[in-house]
Symmetry: C2
Subunit: 426 residues, 2 copies
Amino acid sequence: MSVVVAKFGGTSVANPERIRSVAQRIVSRKRAGDSVVAVVSAMGKTTDDLVALASSISDAPDPREMDTLLSTGEMVSMSLLAMAVAELGEEAISLSGRQIGLITDSVHGKASIREIHADRIRVALSAGRIVIVAGFQGIDAAGDITTLGRGGSDTTAVAIAAGIKADVCEIYTDVAGVYTADPRIVPRACKIDQISYEEMLEMAAGGAGVLHKRCIEFARNFGVTIHCRSSFSDEAGTLVKEYDPTMEKAIVSGVAHDLSEAKFTIRDVPDTTGVAAKVFGAMADANLGVDMIIQNLSENGHTDITFTSPKADIERTTEVMNRIVRELGARELLITGEVAKVSIIGAGMKVNSGVAAQMFTTLAEGGINISMISTSDIRTSVVIPAESAEEAVRLLHTAFGLDGAKVFEETQLSAEELAAKANKGR
Amino acid sequence: MSVVVAKFGGTSVANPERIRSVAQRIVSRKRAGDSVVAVVSAMGKTTDDLVALASSISDAPDPREMDTLLSTGEMVSMSLLAMAVAELGEEAISLSGRQIGLITDSVHGKASIREIHADRIRVALSAGRIVIVAGFQGIDAAGDITTLGRGGSDTTAVAIAAGIKADVCEIYTDVAGVYTADPRIVPRACKIDQISYEEMLEMAAGGAGVLHKRCIEFARNFGVTIHCRSSFSDEAGTLVKEYDPTMEKAIVSGVAHDLSEAKFTIRDVPDTTGVAAKVFGAMADANLGVDMIIQNLSENGHTDITFTSPKADIERTTEVMNRIVRELGARELLITGEVAKVSIIGAGMKVNSGVAAQMFTTLAEGGINISMISTSDIRTSVVIPAESAEEAVRLLHTAFGLDGAKVFEETQLSAEELAAKANKGR
């Protein structure tokens, strides 16, 4: 007798057959005695199709209209799933973001959740119904539809789990859980049984795509246990929860990599007070993200500033930085998109010095050159050439004793679906 | 400087190109000084696709879920049209049924409008915006999405026109207006410049598909002038409004025909008190519509009861009537779907006796057999064999002096689109 929130992504509801299989799964849970809320994304390529339609009308569609347009994708899948559940003989009710009172700010396209009024969900659960909710969407104070941006449906699920005090928030995906490294690169990667919020956050920040950072933060803030598992099997996946002593104290829990960032270097900038503030203030004003930052030692009153930032914004970032280079009288701007960030993550790093050194040694022995380093309590990240990324991940996975006995088995997804999945994050 | 509500059907917004052309049209109106509210249907075949998706999941989808599912079609087209208007440099805002406060009862699939709170439309118009509204949808008291059924988007447009006291409600369609007969059958059919609500209601009841009965009734009840016109030209179409002396006093304004009904006859039913009540009470209980009714003179204490009813419900009607035949001890049930109803409509019929007789004479001379007759103040309808329908319409059109000089020109629609249009009525 648990209260379960289960989130199913776009590939899990890609067609009527898969929708029926999701229905079967949640009906079984219900009949086993659980109260079930299912959160769904839009079917398969629906969102891409809607984006293409909008692009054919306008190069810069109004963000409010875009949100209304995109929100229809989740409404279609929630209605169909509710029909499929009813077809199996259980009572179901679908509810939109508006109907579950998911109130956000008005930042269309990446709205933040302000509050959630879960009364209607609670009432429906008490009446013995399976509740199906449209992920990714909410409404702002004016009653306009907003969307939550990347990882939005996962965040919806966690927010509901917090709102109704669910026992667990299950995130169904196309992999069996969180792995010690990307199994497509490291065939001996192992599924992690339990991981703390902090480690999972660092995994996500390091590029592990299974769960989005916002969703993990939300779960941590409200103490929601996430169960990240496969929609194609009944096997247990990975529990993401408060650190507790039963968790293995591996020094390194996983290796993550990220090819989505570009590296920018401002060469020979006069080293005066406020230079860094000027550079990163300009990035912030332009609403551009920055990940790692290095400033070299000053030489002859000049210094180099290097940082990484999403490749997706490379053009706008270049524009802003060219202006800054002129304003600061720096020598030049160097840009490369051919970099990878590779990170090792582990709660055990807090008390084990020497982990970072072992990482650098391993990479050096592999002939891999490190251009940037950044560390946190439980993570060490390096920037290396993109072509060395896979090799680096494999070397580190072996060096830190993470290689399992079992070789990873292929998921049921096609190459196109995996690619689509990698490009998205609703 | 008028306030205009303009409704565009599914064929008018079938693809991005047509959406842009609708945007151009309403932007021109705005720039000419009018305040414009556009009401849109779902794009082209969207509704059919959604219905097919639901059918692949369930044979009898839950009506509440079906309404949520279908309502997404209009939300897609309203967002896209708003983007297209913005692209032309005018401010636009799209609003769903919920956002315009269109409150209905809870009869999912064919909800009736209870009230409309047009404040948000008025505010947006005052701010100089073009308002785009999703037709066909509303919400009930519980906040659940409802749809208005056949003719729903037209009804939405008329309700808004009533709510904001618009000067005119323009219904854009794929024909140039209301014709004296279906121009696909009668090439010399003429466009009618003005027609009274009552005549238009009888035309719709007789099978003229341009405007739905509910929408005309709504317009009559709230005194909204409808301008029914082509979305492919700027020519004036047909004004539907309160009868006024400037309207032509043609004895017969038009000829309508309807192939959508079947004829049921209950033979030799014992003629006791309450027999008709029993038959038609059973139909009402099963929520089945009845159009024309005839009861023959009683002979030896037995009578025949004949009625017409939508072919779409022929199976359920047969089921109900078979039960009634047994209960009443009647001899048998005769059913034929091969019938047509042909009607002549005209306000002048009120004061001109002999019109019905002229109709019967014309048909008799054409060798067409009449099996049922029904009349109202301004309409006479007959049921004849389906294969004689077109011939009958042409004969009556000529006999009542309706033939024009000009032969009807083809619309810009393809045969498929015309067929789709004929099968729908959102």
